[in-house]
Symmetry: C2
């Protein structure tokens, strides 16, 4: 077909094929240090902005719009971020075999697309997710954090009681209202299902692992701030749990610095359950 053809004369199926779009699932990793977070903001260097520009260039499109599983804040990292976008099928097929190499060539070194593949149109990176898992890393060595890890680990320098932190975390597992730990942005629910919340010492680092159906804004970093207060002995082990009874944000919870936080995994149901999962999530939030 050339530009001069009468498009209206093309039979239905061909026109459909020409206009058809495919949904792509992207698995993404980034060092958040030099990004103003995931979400596009005017005049700021954001992960979404950098990725959308690279995808548009590689797919020869004017623009690409990404929907993401976890809108990470400025300075937060990701090894297992997931996003989706819809692109014209013919543009995709031209680069399907080489897209990762092409993206590696145009993306800056602090963000990588680890995989890009066509997925079900029922797949929604945000609403179909069953759970997100984050890790927050802390060094409590009085000598300071390992210099090769300092971009990804909080340098705390005061001894922390990991057992007390882990006991406090255990009291927050379950379906609870985390309003005390959330920066409210809208009339959204702050009720979340925390499935895993544990603290372990791993070599020279303390690792806080948390998995939930979803997180409200600043929730992980506020929870970590509360655990640090327990670990240092400034607050009793029961204190973070008592905050589940709060009806507004707790002003005495420190929000831990962003660079210790990494989004490590997002989980989705099998394809046949995607539609049901998306509908269920949209209804709740």
């Amino acid at each position: 077909m050339t530009a001069g053809d009468n498009v209206a004369a093309v039979p239905g199926p061909s026109l459909d094929a020409f206009n058809a779009s495919v949904r792509l699932r992207l698995d993404i990793a980034y060092d958040g240090t030099e990004f103003a977070g995931w979400a596009v903001q005017p005049g700021q260097r954001t992960v979404q902005g950098v990725l959308q520009s690279a995808l548009a260039a590689v797919l020869r499109l004017d623009a690409v719009a990404l929907t993401v599983a976890g809108r990470t804040d400025a300075g937060v990292h990701a090894t297992g971020q997931v996003a989706h976008c819809d692109v014209p099928a013919d543009h995709w097929s031209e680069v399907a075999d080489s897209i990762l190499r092409r993206l590696a060539g145009v993306l800056p070194a602090d963000v990588r697309v680890r995989s890009a593949r066509v997925t079900s149109t029922d797949f929604d990176a945000r609403f179909a997710a069953r759970w997100r898992r984050y890790e927050y890393r802390i060094s409590d060595a009085s000598t300071g954090v390992d210099p090769l890890r300092r971009a990804f680990v909080l340098d705390y320098r005061r001894a922390l009681d990991v057992t007390a932190m882990n006991d406090a975390a255990a009291q927050l597992v379950g379906l609870n209202d985390f309003v005390a730990f959330c920066k409210r942005r809208e009339e959204a629910s702050t009720i979340r299902q925390v499935q895993v919340f544990e603290v372990v010492r791993q070599d020279t680092e303390i690792v806080v692992r948390i998995q939930a159906d979803a997180f409200c804004h600043s929730m992980v970093r506020s929870l970590v701030g509360a655990l640090i207060a327990v670990g240092e002995g400034r607050r009793p082990v029961d204190w973070p749990g008592t905050l589940l009874n709060a009806t507004e944000r707790a002003n005495d919870v420190m929000v831990a610095a962003p660079h210790g936080l990494t989004l490590v995994e997002v989980d989705y149901p099998p394809d046949e359950e995607l539609t049901a999962r998306t509908a269920q999530t949209r209804a709740r939030r």
Copy 2:
């Protein structure tokens, strides 16, 4: 004693005690990215320069002179660097219990002293070392290196045959003249005892491990450059081994970029063997 006292009148033992020095062993880690290498150079930010200033400040001395196990190049990292220095015993005793915390307070975040302790005056960080171990890390993923690891891993992007690289490395183990892989700086020997030289794939990274009694300048990075040529199929497996017959530096050996290289460990004999080891090393080099 005040400035006005007649020092000559102080009895011998007290004067000795006043002047006595202790030898300190320091275990050091650094991210080499923003350093112009270990060795002090005028107008450059070097690990030695930064550490000597910090030690002088903490020990209240005009200057401290460090002797190091491995003079790493610009951009090379260390997790297991070792150095020694001699300092007045009374200055040491004042800060002995708090020196790591104090150093952590004055050092920049890209260099840390992991331990500092009094050692035998027979200990020599350079000449008493039995062996040094380095690791060189390479990513051959076509999608590019993990963004959270990019400061410490070479981003190669072309598939490398790790088995071929490991077979080539095995041919270089032993007491050999590594002149083909050395930048000669003086009339020094280029004969070295390579004890371990192996290549393994570890998750998404290729790790080259090499251990030798010592290394001449640029030796590890030249050896890695030769292995990469083998891994990519540009050179046969036997090629690096044949270079052991060379009598001068091989111009066709690429020197791999510094940021993939880390000094991970230096080994010393037990105290009672230190003097013999130092004498032996000095005689040979």
